[in-house]
C-alpha cells in the first residue's frame, strides 16, 4: 500500500520532469524519447488508478504507435544538427516570458477551481477490468464508437489525400 502510493508520486514527478524536458529539447529525437518516458509514467499512473486497460492502450498505441510515427517523420525530414542550431535560435529567452506568465495564471485559476470544489475524495484504486469497459463501451457508448470510427476514416482519407497530392506534385516535377 505504501509502495504504490510512493510509486504514484514518483511516476508523477517523472512525468512532469520528462514533459518539461520534452517540450524544451532542441533535438527532436531527444524530445520524443522524453515524451515516451512521460507516456510510460502516465501509463504507470493509470495502472495505479485501477485502469489497466487504459494503461495498456497508453503504452501500445501512444508510446508504441504514435510516437513511432513521429519518429518516422523526424527521420524522414532529416532534422539533424542544422535544425538543432535553428531551434536554439528560435528558442530565445524573451519568447518564454509571456507564455510562462499565462501558464502561471492558468495554473492558479485551475488549481483554485479544483480546490474550491468541495470533494476531497480519495481514489481507492478499485480495478475496472477491460471486460467491464468493453461492455459499457459497446452498449452505452456505441454511438461514440461509431463516430470515432468515422473520425478515423476521415483522418485516413485526409492523410491519404494530403500525401497523395504531395506524391503527384513530385511526379510532375
Amino acid at each position: 500500500m505504501e509502495l504504490s502510493l510512493y510509486l504514484f508520486y514518483i511516476s508523477a514527478a517523472v512525468a512532469i520532469t520528462t514533459a518539461i524536458m520534452a517540450v524544451t529539447r532542441k533535438n527532436a529525437s531527444h524530445a520524443l524519447i522524453y515524451l515516451v518516458v512521460t507516456l510510460l509514467s502516465i501509463a504507470v499512473i493509470f495502472f495505479l488508478l485501477g485502469a489497466p486497460f487504459a494503461a495498456a492502450l497508453e503504452i501500445v498505441i501512444y508510446a508504441g504507435a504514435i510516437v513511432v510515427l513521429f519518429l518516422f517523420v523526424v527521420m524522414m525530414l532529416n532534422l539533424g544538427r542544422s535544425s538543432v542550431a535553428r531551434e536554439s535560435q528560435w528558442l530565445r529567452p524573451g519568447m518564454w516570458v509571456l507564455p510562462a506568465i499565462l501558464s502561471g495564471v492558468l495554473f492558479i485559476v485551475f488549481g483554485y477551481t479544483v480546490l474550491q470544489t468541495e470533494n476531497s475524495a480519495m481514489i481507492e484504486g478499485q480495478v475496472v477490468p477491460p471486460k467491464e469497459v468493453g461492455k459499457v463501451l459497446f452498449h452505452e457508448y456505441l454511438l461514440g464508437v461509431e463516430l470515432a470510427g468515422v473520425l478515423l476514416l476521415a483522418a485516413l482519407v485526409g492523410a491519404f489525400h494530403v500525401g497523395r497530392r504531395y506524391l503527384e506534385e513530385r511526379r510532375e516535377n
Binding site: A19, A22, L49, G50, A65, V128, V136
Partner: protein, 105 residues
C-alpha cells in the same frame, strides 16, 4: 481487486493540470511544428489522465472510455497533422509555423 492505494483526487488533478500547462506552454513557445504537435500530445494525455482519474474515483469504466475516445482523436490528429508537416516541409522548405501564414483571412 484493488491496487490498494488511497490518494486524493486533487493530487491527480494537479498532475493533470501541470502536464496540461506544460503542453500549452510548449505549444506557445515552439515555432517548430513538430514540437507543437508533440506538446499537443502531452496536453491530450493530461486530459486523458483527468478523465481516467475521475472514472477511478467512482470505480466506473466511463473515464477509460473517454480516454479511448481521446486516443482515437489523437491518432486521427497525428495522422493528418504529420501528413501536413511533410507537405509543409516540402513546400515551404521549413518547419517554421510562422512562415505558413496562408491561413490569414
Amino acid at each position: 481487486m484493488t491496487t490498494a492505494l488511497s490518494i486524493p483526487l486533487e493530487h491527480v488533478f494537479f498532475l493533470a493540470i501541470i502536464l496540461f500547462l506544460i503542453g500549452a506552454f510548449g505549444v506557445l513557445i515552439r515555432r517548430n511544428i513538430i514540437f507543437m504537435l508533440l506538446s499537443l500530445e502531452i496536453m491530450m494525455n493530461a486530459c486523458g489522465l483527468a478523465f481516467v482519474a475521475a472514472g477511478a474515483r467512482w470505480a466506473e469504466p466511463d473515464g477509460q472510455i473517454m480516454f479511448m475516445f481521446i486516443l482515437a482523436l489523437a491518432a486521427a490528429e497525428v495522422a493528418v497533422a504529420l501528413g501536413l508537416v511533410v507537405q509543409l516541409a516540402r513546400r515551404f522548405e521549413t518547419l517554421d509555423i510562422d512562415r505558413a501564414e496562408e491561413l490569414n483571412g
